[in-house]
Amino acid sequence: MVDLAYKTLLHDKLRFFITVAGVAFAVSLILVQVGLFIGILDNATITIEHLPADLWVTSKNTPNLDFVHQFPETSVERVRATPGVKRADNLILSFMNVALPTGAQETTVVYALSNFRRWGFPWNVTSGDVDDLKRGPYVFFDDSAAKRFGPFEVGDYRELMGQRLKIIGKTHDAKSFTTTPLAFMDYDRAQSLQPDLLRGKTSYILVELEPGARADEVRKAIEKELPYNDVYTKAEWASRSRDYWIKNTGIGFNAFMTVFLGCLVGIVVVAQTLYTSTMEHIKEFGTVKAIGGSNADIYKILAKQAGVSAVVGFVLGVIPSFAIRPLVEKGDLKLIIPTDFAVTVFLGTVVLCLVASMVSFRKVASIDPSLVFRA
């Protein structure tokens, strides 16, 4: 079969290039902006995702992971006594001042546990041993801290809350939503650095369930024991933390507007170019009708042209979106494009291009085949 749609589309290469460039631009815009959005949100919950806690006990109405309120650390004993709990430990999360060699002051987010090894935390340890943290005034920093704190090496010292701590290890990829660098130290050490705030207090209780224990039942039992705390599943707590930033900072609206504008740009470009192309080929469509073709035959041509534009435009849009990832990472940002999101964008691109071609459908339906006789 002669493929009139494909051949006509490629016959005018400049027009085809403009069409797919418009689609590619829209696809890139959506993938990069939403990818950055997902990357930022990933930082907001990255520690939740990497801690193997089934339940998180927080102080009442804690809005997100970073905005903590301390509560008595002895609560952990009642959690440990709850049926279905395999393990429960206190986790301190606290912002602490860091004095830099330059004399400047910076802030770090400290995660403190009594036994890091037991929780497999932190992840991506690139140097040092987390078991050594409890053996002295030691700290781990994530390597991303170099951007804020300046270059540092294992063996260097930094002053946190007025006390010199030796850097004995580094991690990679442990970032926070606020871009404040992450530090890891022993639970008691953290309390000693901020005694007024942390003595006898914890920020969270991490709970691991016994195999076969039902999360909802254990959760109810803990809530009964600790009526002045909240208990979330891992997914709920991550969702609550993400939602806080999405709803309270405007980045959610920003991402929505980006997607909306990307779709709008894509639709307008494809609709405009297909419509112009239809108008320029109107006599050819009239000829198709005159030789016995139906409106459906012409719709198929337009739909195929829209589909081909969508597929080629998507591919051309995906390539730069992935290619700029190293550049984005140099800026300490993450560009995360999950496969299911990429598939959704692909399907959306095809659907929107087909919708755009419908503008031309209306024109085609009204073609008077007798125009073929006009000079």
């Binding site: 490629l10 016995g292 007798s370 006789f373």
Partner: protein, 223 residues
């Protein structure tokens, strides 16, 4: 028995608040193998009549019968099928698809009429050989001369072997010599297969190849 018959056909167009009567009771019958020239000044209604005969337009009143089947003006959705089955067109402007080669232009018309490739490819190649374009099958229309384009258009019209061929000023964009060649080719091919051929024209040369000449003036048959 005529393969195409129009009886007392009228056509009225609404142009704003005015009603313009373009055809006022026109009748014509085409026999198989007959070549008829339809002449008339600009605005006489030739093209409108051709459109009605070709089942592109429906008449306001009157009757059109194609290969024994009455065309129902109340069912315009049936017209593409009649065009597909019984009618081949040749246009003044050739109306070839610029993105398709000569061979593909003919093949596509066959595809539209339900002939699948590769049979369509084979038939298209055969008919292009008959019109003398065996060496130009793979050329795009932009690389063909006016006469060659019109040969492709004739091949496209003949490819599906319709009973009726309708041509609108087929020599208008050709020089005298090429125009004469095209008319001769057209007549020979139509007659050889017993097809009825109606040529709308201003060109006096068409008279020479026609069995009869029909004049239309002010929407009526004059002679």
């Amino acid at each position: 028995m005529p393969v195409l018959e129009a009886s007392d056909v009228t056509k009225v167009f609404d142009e704003g608040k005015q009603r313009v009567s373009v055809l006022r009771g026109v009748s014509l019958a085409l026999e198989p193998g007959e070549v008829v020239a339809l002449e008339g000044p600009s605005g006489s209604g030739k093209t409108t009549f051709l459109s009605i005969l070709g089942c592109i337009l429906t008449p306001t009143s009157g009757r059109v019968v194609v290969e024994g089947q009455v065309v129902d003006p109340k069912k315009p959705g049936k017209l593409p099928d009649i065009r597909k089955r019984s009618i081949g067109f040749v246009f003044q402007q050739f109306n070839l698809f610029p993105a398709l080669t000569a061979l593909e232009n003919v093949e596509y018309a066959l595809n539209i009429k339900g002939v699948k490739s590769p049979l369509a490819t084979q038939k298209a190649a055969e008919i292009l050989e008959r019109v003398g374009l065996a060496e130009r099958m793979r050329f795009l229309p932009r690389d063909l001369s006016g006469g060659q384009k019109q040969r492709v258009a004739i091949a496209r019209a003949l490819a599906a072997e319709p009973a009726i061929l309708l041509a609108d000023e087929p020599t208008a964009n050709l020089d005298t010599q090429v125009g004469a060649q095209i008319l001769e080719l057209f007549r020979t091919l139509a007659r050889a297969d017993g097809r009825a051929l109606l040529i709308v024209t201003h060109d006096p040369k068409v008279r020479a190849v026609s069995d009869r000449v029909v004049q239309i003036r002010d929407g009526k048959i004059a002679a």
